[in-house]
């Protein structure tokens, strides 16, 4: 059930309407039922996998707390935590990475001229498994660390894992952020309703008008065997906006739906293409994943505490695994490595860059800001080329074509990209300089707000392309 589908247009008002009629316990039960139905609508066979995660992590966390209370040795608590980690990672590894590793192993053997009768399995990838597994793991780790009491009621915990707005594509909510909201009564405020409506409309507009219209164009360019430099350039720009609008659009709708029910989900995207450095990019792009990786991987590895060399190693490990989280393919690993290298280089050069860009006059600061944003945007775009390419050969071909970026200029194609992405860029410039991410919800007078929503509605209903599945569902 896609957020941009007729089914969801029926599901959402029914679920929200009944939700408003119930008290907190009833609301939680109703939301749990709705969430399981939402998840089963993709494929009911995914439910047992989701249920396994819920059961294992609920009982492991409860036992961890019990052990802490009786003063059990740290080692024993670590073993118990390992059960949760092992179960979650085993399921993730099997469903998502089994075939990838088998394929890679087979290819390595073949490269060594060793023939082995290895075959892959026909495994169905449970939708959203990477998101809810990470979320559920964060709960047991937080209980282990003593940052959070274990949840007393299984159904509340089950709702935490399966809460439908963010179940299949995030944001990845830490238990400390979401569980308290589930456990206490919620009151939807007027501002939450206004913000929620804006987030839903804006998110759907980004997805249906921009991402879905750019998708065929991107697919066409990335299926060309020998694209010109100009086509590659446009294809990468178009993909940059497609993936951003697709993913952030989903998140916006998820946050909007949650707000309408009185929940607050974390901000997942904060104008990422306005970043001036790789470090800033990861505080603006998929914030919930980068926070998770920082809290549960980078910091436990040592973070930046043990000197430059270990910091660089930790950054590389974190980003490589972050890349692999996105999908079972080598180009995602390559993309992760590229992001790691950018972070390492930036970290190494930061003192020098700070000196270079230390300007006094306002215009020089503005020019330097623009320059750094543009450079970072293009570095990000090159990352998207690695991310979107289907083979190493394609990466090489498209990268080589970029040496002549203005070869065979295709004005029609350029106008299409500008036509779909341009309005977003204009709005986001305003958001960036005004510092207001929510910009429609409080627009005055009301008639002006209605007119703005109507324009978005027109573009969504009558100028949307054929609906495409959200890109991040595959992760």
């Amino acid at each position: 059930m896609l957020f941009n589908s007729l089914e969801f247009a029926l599901f959402f008002p029914i679920v929200t309407g009944v939700y408003y009629l119930l008290r907190q316990r009833g609301q939680n039960l109703w939301l749990l039922a709705a969430s399981l139905f939402f998840y089963a609508s993709w494929d009911w066979r995914f439910l047992p996998i989701l249920a396994t995660t819920m059961v294992v992590d609920f009982y492991v966390a409860a036992y961890l707390e019990e052990l802490a209370k009786i003063g059990a040795p740290e080692r024993k608590r670590k073993y118990v935590l390992a059960i949760s980690m092992g179960a979650n990672l085993a399921m993730l590894g099997f469903f998502k990475y089994f075939n990838f590793f088998i394929d890679s192993f087979h290819s390595s053997l073949l490269a060594l001229h060793i023939s082995a009768p290895i075959s892959t399995l026909s495994i169905l990838l449970p939708i959203g498994i990477s998101f809810y597994t990470f979320q559920s793991m964060s709960y047991t780790i937080d209980v282990y660390r003593g940052e959070l009491p274990a949840c007393r009621h299984f159904l509340d915990f089950a709702l935490f894992v399966s809460f439908y707005p963010h179940l299949v594509a995030g944001p990845i909510m830490r238990a400390v952020d979401l569980l308290p909201q589930i456990l206490s009564p919620r009151h939807t405020t007027r501002q939450q309703v206004l913000d929620g409506i804006q987030l839903m409309v804006w998110g759907l507009w980004k997805k249906m008008f921009i991402a879905d219209n750019l998708a065929p164009l991107v697919n066409r360019i990335f299926s060309e065997t020998a694209p010109t430099g100009f086509h590659t350039l446009l294809g990468v720009y178009a993909f940059a906006f497609q993936i951003y609008c697709d993913f952030s659009g989903y998140t916006d709708v998820a946050r909007g739906v949650a707000k309408l029910m009185g929940f607050e989900l974390v901000l997942n995207f904060n104008l990422p293409y306005f970043s001036t450095s790789p470090q800033e990019f990861w505080t603006r792009w998929h914030i919930s994943l980068s926070s998770w990786l920082r809290n549960y991987l980078y910091f436990p590895l040592g973070g930046s505490r043990d000197g430059a060399a270990k910091t660089y190693r930790n950054l590389m490990i974190t980003m490589l695994l972050g890349g692999l989280w996105h999908g079972a393919a080598w180009n995602f690993v390559l993309w992760g490595a590229y992001q790691g290298i950018l972070l390492v280089i930036h970290r190494a050069l930061q003192p020098m860059l700070d000196r270079i860009f230390d300007f006094r006059s306002a215009w020089a600061r503005a020019a330097s800001l623009t320059f750094r944003i543009l450079v970072m945007f293009h570095l990000t775009c090159f990352g998207w080329l690695l991310f979107r390419a289907s083979s190493f050969t394609q990466i090489v071909t498209m990268t080589a074509s970029l040496l002549h970026p203005f070869q065979q200029v295709d004005k029609d194609l350029a106008w299409q990209v500008v036509g779909y992405a341009g309005p977003l860029v204009v709005v986001q410039c305003w958001q960036y300089f005004s510092g207001k991410l929510i910009f429609l919800a409080n627009l005055r007078p009301l008639e002006l707000r209605i007119a703005a929503y109507s324009v978005l509605l027109y573009l969504m209903l009558f100028r949307a392309a054929k609906p495409q599945a959200f890109i991040y569902f595959q992760f």
Binding site: L6, E447, I450, A451, S454, L457, Y458, L459, L461, F462
Partner: protein, 353 residues
């Protein structure tokens, strides 16, 4: 919760603002896409027509959405000097409703003929208009002949216009221009996508019943012989007129999306077709088509005319037909292939003479 008068006014104002904004968006959208005037009362296919004492004819140098007419009023690019000109006569199937611009079958045929006949210089002129009855086409032939001096005329005209005989008479006065919501068409198209097919069938059935009630005539199972006779005589008139102006008529049998024996899955589309001829029951449409094509074959045999049997050569199904008789882009390509296969030897021989 009681709604105050002020609150009610606010809600109504917001609704009005929303509808007006959506309408303005639709108009700007038309302007960006097709250069349509933003503030005109209406923007519909009537822009393509003008009327004289005979009836409807194409308006030169006009554009409506993707349909662009040239200076002689045919759909397609401007004519160039010289070459062999071939008229395509018919109605909406020939004019092209669903194909992208430049992909309707006359355009594709022109490209094929010029590619397949060495030294060929053929211009295929799409003089069809949606809903154009044969008698009107016949009366327009002298003007067409004087304007473009064609050598051949392909006649691709179905018999469906003859279900209700007054349809074959020309409409001599233009419909009155009145305000039309530009938003209506996108909303209608969206509704077609969203409303379940079974419900759409119910709407169609109701519309057919309403049409029958307003006509005050009972529906018939088969097209009456009288109607088929009119079709035959109108075709004979057209052929005679073309010959009078030294234009060689070429008859083309009429193709539909349906197999010879329609299945239950074909019923919704037959129902959709019947909306344009409610007097004939769905089961009568395919026999009507067969009778119409038999008349074309008989005329060709009797007069020694060149006949291209498109009906038996174009595959059926939704890959080739966007609705009951109108081509998809691929259907138009298929039609152009069929026509070109038949015409190439004939035109090559003509050229060598």
């Amino acid at each position: 919760m009681r709604l105050s008068f002020r609150g009610l006014v606010r809600i109504i104002t917001c609704l009005i603002v929303s509808v007006l904004t959506l309408e303005l968006c639709a108009r700007i959208d038309d302007w960006i896409g097709y250069g349509a005037p933003i503030f005109s009362l209406s923007y519909n296919e009537n822009r393509l027509y003008e009327y004289d004492q005979i009836g409807k004819r194409s308006r030169p140098n006009v554009r409506y959405r993707k349909w662009q007419l040239n200076s002689v009023g045919s759909r397609g690019p401007e004519l160039t000097d010289g070459g062999t000109r071939i008229l395509c006569l018919g109605a909406s199937e020939t004019f092209g409703l669903y194909e992208p611009e430049g992909q309707e079958y006359p355009r594709q045929l022109e490209r094929q003929l010029n590619a397949r006949i060495p030294g060929g210089d053929f211009q295929v002129l799409n003089f069809a208009l949606p809903g154009m009855p044969l008698p009107v086409i016949t009366t327009r032939i002298p003007a067409m002949a004087a304007a473009v001096h064609p050598r051949f005329a392909l006649i691709y005209a179905g018999v469906a216009t003859y279900i209700w005989l007054p349809d074959r008479k020309p409409l001599s006065s233009p419909p009155r221009d009145h305000f039309e919501w530009r938003l209506a068409e996108p909303v209608r198209n969206l509704a077609k996508q969203l409303i379940p097919a079974s419900l759409q069938d119910k709407f169609r059935e109701r519309s057919i019943q309403q049409s029958l009630a307003s006509l005050g005539t009972p529906a018939f199972d088969r097209l009456p012989q009288e109607n088929l006779d009119y079709y035959r005589s109108d075709l004979e008139d057209l052929i005679a007129t073309l010959r009078r102006y030294d234009i060689e008529p070429i008859l083309v049998t009429h193709a539909t999306r349906f197999p010879p024996e329609p299945t239950p899955a074909d019923r919704p589309m037959l129902l959709a077709w019947r909306r344009f001829g409610p007097l004939l029951r769905e089961d009568g449409f395919l026999p009507m088509e067969r009778s119409g094509n038999d008349i074309l074959r008989q005329l060709a045999a009797a007069d020694g005319l060149f006949l291209i049997d498109a009906a038996s050569r174009i595959p059926t199904g939704d890959r080739y037909f966007a609705d009951f008789v109108h081509f998809t882009e691929e259907g138009s390509r298929q039609m152009a292939d069929v026509l070109a296969d038949a015409l190439v030897p004939r035109l090559a021989a003509d050229q060598s003479r």
